[in-house]
């Protein structure tokens, strides 16, 4: 058209769309009319409005043309495409079983793929919504001690950040976050335990995007009495009342006025919180320059400057920090120097595996695994499609012949069969979106996430559609080319080209078996390890065992509280303790405190220390191997565990003497060891059992927690009865209790969840593979019907025929097993089981199960198909020659 497009011309895109959908005659008419309307609108309503109306009209014209009007106004290629779809639809209806297998396989594959993509995308999105997330770095501290080295995300004193930022100009600003421990918050008659308290400073809102709902964040974080709460917390305490200006009572004494309500933090942030308090106020309360109060430190640093800052921090550490931080102190103690690390904020969720993270982290390894499984499922589904389409090609050969005879080019045929593939993908995609609406709630429950299709970002949706498009082209292209290559004459006679197809088919099927078997082995190993963890004897009986935090609440009532609980008919026994399993205080004992050990100067032995009361061992269901239990609360002595005995190398520990840690200046007399406990896991089974010593006190001295063993009957009413006793004896604090087995299982929630997810997707993949084998075996039988008919006529039995068909699958299974077994073995051993201290040995039967299971399943599916042979009438297949 050559003429210069004026600025006021209608949108080019609209014209292009019209051009590709309308025949020439009609196009010119539509262009004229729409152009004139556009010019009119341009004058009356402005450019944008005119352009929008133009696009709307373009779509309207096309819509009416295709669904209400006449196809003669559409160009040929579109008409052909429409015809292709009609033909595909007819074929779809003609061979229902085949179409169903294909559709189900693709739908399952696509659904699994989309689900996994949603999951992975969510995991990858952590903390990327903050404006400046790329320059926010979290400071962590790696410290070395004689018991090992640990990197901590938290234990930095909060005063470190100002010191660093004064000396290092590259640090643009800092923001610190302190944790507030479990707190009772009271408003009116509402009283709850809250764990989501954080101390923050003004820069918190510069660093992180947590939108404000009402109130203000300006300067309020200097006010020691201010509290900022989330929407859901506001709802919990104030219902529909305006929370601003209301006063909450924290821990029965501190009054805080609500100054702002914030939106709940989204799920994809590490910085979860329920309420915020002033960090500067906290800092003032705690005196001394180098406070021991730990916090999290976030620094804004240009990513290019990281290396520079890193070395500068090291200098500052040696010059301006207290001596305990410096390299020389560490070296004088024979330890590696400690150092500070910087981690990009967005990396923390998946890539950080250090101690005391601010919230539960994910694991990048699982992201890799799930991405791989998702892609594999999609590939299996598309391989299925390719195989099934190849199988159908025999039936379609005549159709190809006729099309070619009346002048269809190869390109047109390829287009026809590709559009058919596309139709399948489209239908399956539609089905999987429907399926998703149904499955997502379950999936969310399983993953503890709130995923939804609606929240998908456009770029993510585009990526997913792109992958699906590529996969559908890949799975359709080979059958399309294969079919279009058939010679016209041969096709009309019903012949198909011989070679090529067969080799590809073998490769594809071996590949499928490889994936299926790898997944079976890995799943079995995963499940065995997880059930091993859950059923392992951990040295105490965690069933029907509860604990109640009582620290500082009982005052003088500890005796009455315990007696009343013991008097309940369904309570077996109860005891007070200072520590719960897992939080025993680690104490360093100089070596010369243990009888018979040489003092080696500075070296200490670290052990866990438990302060308990009468009946503790019995209540917990722990086993004494040697010696006896404490007689009563005034008994002086230690009970130690096997791990400590091993560590000390004592042959006969009973009666040997340990000097208690000097407390202040009081020198305490040494105490004998009176018993040895069987090792119990006081921490996650991912870590080893640590040395432990246990002493006994009177209830009046130790009453931080009450542990109680219940009878299995009426647990609910027993707990309710304990609650009533609590209300009577304590009253002004909510009753709180935890079952030990819940607490135990919680440690493995992540693993159990991943295990379940993996199991589901692996079964899906295996299911889709079986569908594929069904399709393929029908292909094989179909293709060799003539051969089988001759065999049958010559007297072959059904059994012999089935053997022939099954043989085609035997070698691919064996071959793929030879690859799958080592692949799964090394992955499970080196990548996954590594992270557990207590792990299963990989058993041969896992592998046997995989290969035998695959063989059996294949045999069943294939035999079902070859059963057709029995009914087949040979004359039908031999007649044409």
């Amino acid at each position: 058209m050559g003429t210069q497009r004026s600025k006021n011309a209608p949108p080019k895109l609209g014209e292009k769309i019209l051009e590709s959908f309308c025949s020439y005659d009609f196009l010119s008419t539509a262009l004229w009319d729409l152009g004139e309307i556009h010019a009119l609108n341009l004058k009356q309503k402005g450019k944008l409005s005119a352009d929008i109306r133009y696009m709307r009209d373009v779509l309207g014209v096309i819509y009416h043309l295709y669904f209400k009007g006449k196809s003669q106004y559409t160009p040929n290629r579109i008409a052909m495409l429409k015809n292709n779809f009609i033909i595909s639809f007819r074929n779809f209806k003609k061979d229902k079983v085949y179409s169903l297998i294909n559709t189900i396989g693709l739908t399952m594959g696509l659904s699994a793929f989309i689900l996994i993509s949603l999951f992975v995308n969510h995991e990858l999105s952590y903390d990327k919504f903050h404006d400046d997330y790329e320059s926010i770095h979290r400071l962590s501290h790696k410290r070395n001690a004689s018991m090992g080295s640990f990197e901590f995300a938290r234990t930095i004193p909060i005063s470190i950040a100002p010191t660093l930022s004064q000396s290092i100009p590259e640090i643009e600003s800092f923001s610190r976050v302190g944790l507030k421990g479990e707190t009772i918050i009271k408003y009116g008659d509402k009283m709850f335990y809250e764990t989501g308290g954080r101390y923050v400073e003004d820069s918190f809102f510069e660093f992180f995007n947590f939108p404000l709902v009402s109130g203000t964040t300006e300067g309020v974080l200097d006010d020691p009495e201010a509290i900022l709460i989330t929407e859901s917390m506001a709802k919990k305490y104030f219902n529909d009342r305006n929370p601003l200006g209301e006063v909450l009572t924290l821990n029965k004494k501190d009054l805080h006025k609500v100054v702002a309500v914030l939106k709940d933090p989204p799920q994809n942030t590490q910085l979860q919180f329920e309420y915020l308090l002033s960090l500067p106020a906290l800092e003032k309360r705690l005196t001394g320059a180098w406070l021991r109060h730990p916090g999290y430190t976030y620094l804004k640093i240009n990513p290019d400057q990281i290396g520079k800052v890193f070395t500068k921090i090291d200098e500052v550490k040696n010059q301006s920090f207290p001596a305990s931080f410096s390299d020389s102190t560490a070296i004088s103690r024979g330890l590696e120097p400690s150092y500070f690390n910087l981690q990009p904020l967005a990396d923390i969720h998946l890539n950080s595996r250090i101690e005391s993270e601010i919230s539960v982290t994910g694991d990048i390894r699982y992201i890799y695994i799930f991405s791989a499984v998702g892609l594999v499922i999609l590939i299996i589904a598309s391989v299925n499609y390719t195989n099934a389409a190849m199988a159908r090609s025999i039936k379609r050969a005549k159709e190809v012949g006729v099309r070619k005879a009346i002048g269809a080019s190869q390109g047109a045929l390829v287009k026809l069969y590709l559009s058919e593939t596309f139709l399948y993908v489209l239908i399956s995609l539609g089905l999987s979106v429907l399926l998703m609406a149904w499955v997502l709630p379950f999936f969310n429950q399983l993953t503890d996430k709130q995923l939804s299709l609606v929240d998908m970002s456009p770029s993510f949706a585009l990526l997913i559609s792109g992958i699906i498009l590529v996969i559908s082209i890949l799975s359709g292209i080979y059958p399309a080319i294969y079919l279009s290559k058939i010679s016209t004459v041969g096709a009309l006679k019903g012949k198909t080209p011989k070679s090529g197809g067969n080799r590809l088919k073998k490769v594809l099927i071996t590949f499928q078996f490889l994936i299926a078997q790898t997944l079976i082995i890995v799943t079995v190993i995963l499940q065995s390890q997880l059930s091993f963890l859950q059923n392992k004897d951990i040295g105490y009986d965690r069933e029907q065992l509860i604990y109640i935090p009582t620290k500082g609440e009982l005052k003088k009532n500890y005796g009455a509280f315990k007696n009343e609980i013991n008097a309940l008919p369904n309570v077996v026994s109860s005891a007070y303790t200072m520590n719960l399993l897992g939080d025993g205080t680690m104490t360093a004992y100089p070596l010369n405190h243990f009888e018979g050990l040489e003092d080696e100067g500075d070296k200490n032995l670290w052990t866990n220390y438990y302060g308990t009361t009468e009946n503790f061992i019995q209540t917990m269901g722990m086993k004494l191997l040697e010696g006896g239990d404490f007689k009563d609360g005034s008994d002086r002595g230690f009970i130690i565990n096997e791990a400590l005995v091993r560590k000390l190398g004592w042959e006969n520990p009973i009666g040997k003497v340990i000097k208690p840690q000097p407390y202040g200046t009081t020198v305490q007399p040494p105490y004998p060891i009176i018993g040895v406990l069987k090792d119990f896991n006081d921490q996650s089974l991912k870590s080893e059992i640590k040395p432990m010593m246990m002493a006994i006190s009177a209830d009046s001295l130790v009453n931080d927690y009450l542990v109680a063993r219940l009878r299995p009957e009426n647990i609910r009413s027993t707990v309710a009865a304990i609650g009533e006793i609590w209300d009577k004896q304590v009253g002004d604090r909510p009753f709180d209790f935890t079952f030990y087995d819940d607490a135990f299982n919680k440690q493995y929630n992540a693993e159990l969840r991943q295990g379940k997810l993996f199991w589901i997707f692996a079964s899906l993949a295996i299911g889709i593979s079986i569908l594929g084998i069904m399709g393929l075996s029908s292909f094989m039988v179909e293709q060799r019907m003539k051969e089988f008919s001759i065999r049958k006529v010559l007297g072959a039995s059904l059994k012999q025929l089935m053997m022939i068909v099954n043989k085609g699958f035997f070698w691919p299974i064996i071959l793929s097993f030879l690859v799958a077994a080592p692949l799964a073995y090394y992955w499970a051993r080196d990548q996954w089981l590594q992270s557990f201290v207590y792990r299963i040995d990989i058993q041969p039967w896992y592998f046997a199960l995989a290969i035998l299971g695959t063989l059996l399943l294949t045999l069943l599916t294939v035999s079902y198909h070859s059963f057709k042979l029995k009914k087949a009438n040979p004359t039908r297949y031999l007649g044409s020659d």
């Binding site: 262009l31 009319d33 009007g69 106004y73």
Partner: protein, 112 residues
């Protein structure tokens, strides 16, 4: 051959084409319709209606207004045919006949 029916929208389009006489093409028909019906008309729906009318032989189309400036675009003018007028007349007659059969008491309402 099955009897050709004249839908309500088709009827009003056909009338408009007839009323615009020599100057009936996409835009003028649309504008005229919109001012009479007092609502917005989709040009796509209009094309579909015109195509159906043309198929039934109630309108003829001719091409006009091809200019170099318009870059191969053209106006497609529509004229009502004799059959078209007959069809309109038939519908109108039927309506009139039915209308006249309305009870006199109800016709009264128009006058008040």
């Amino acid at each position: 051959m099955k009897k050709m029916t004249l839908g309500a929208f088709e009827e009003i389009v056909l009338l408009t084409v007839g009323a615009l006489n020599e100057n009936a093409y996409g835009v003028t028909i649309k504008v005229e319709l919109e001012s009479n019906l007092k609502k917005s008309i989709s040009i796509g729906a209009l094309y579909a209606a015109l195509q159906r009318l043309e198929e039934k032989g109630w309108v003829n189309s001719r091409v006009g207004g091809i200019t170099e400036k318009q870059g191969g675009r053209r106006k497609q003018y529509y004229d009502i045919t004799k059959q078209g007028v007959l069809a309109l007349h038939e519908v109108k007659a039927m309506r009139n006949e039915l209308f006249h059969r309305l009870p006199a008491t109800k016709i009264q309402w128009l006058k008040s």
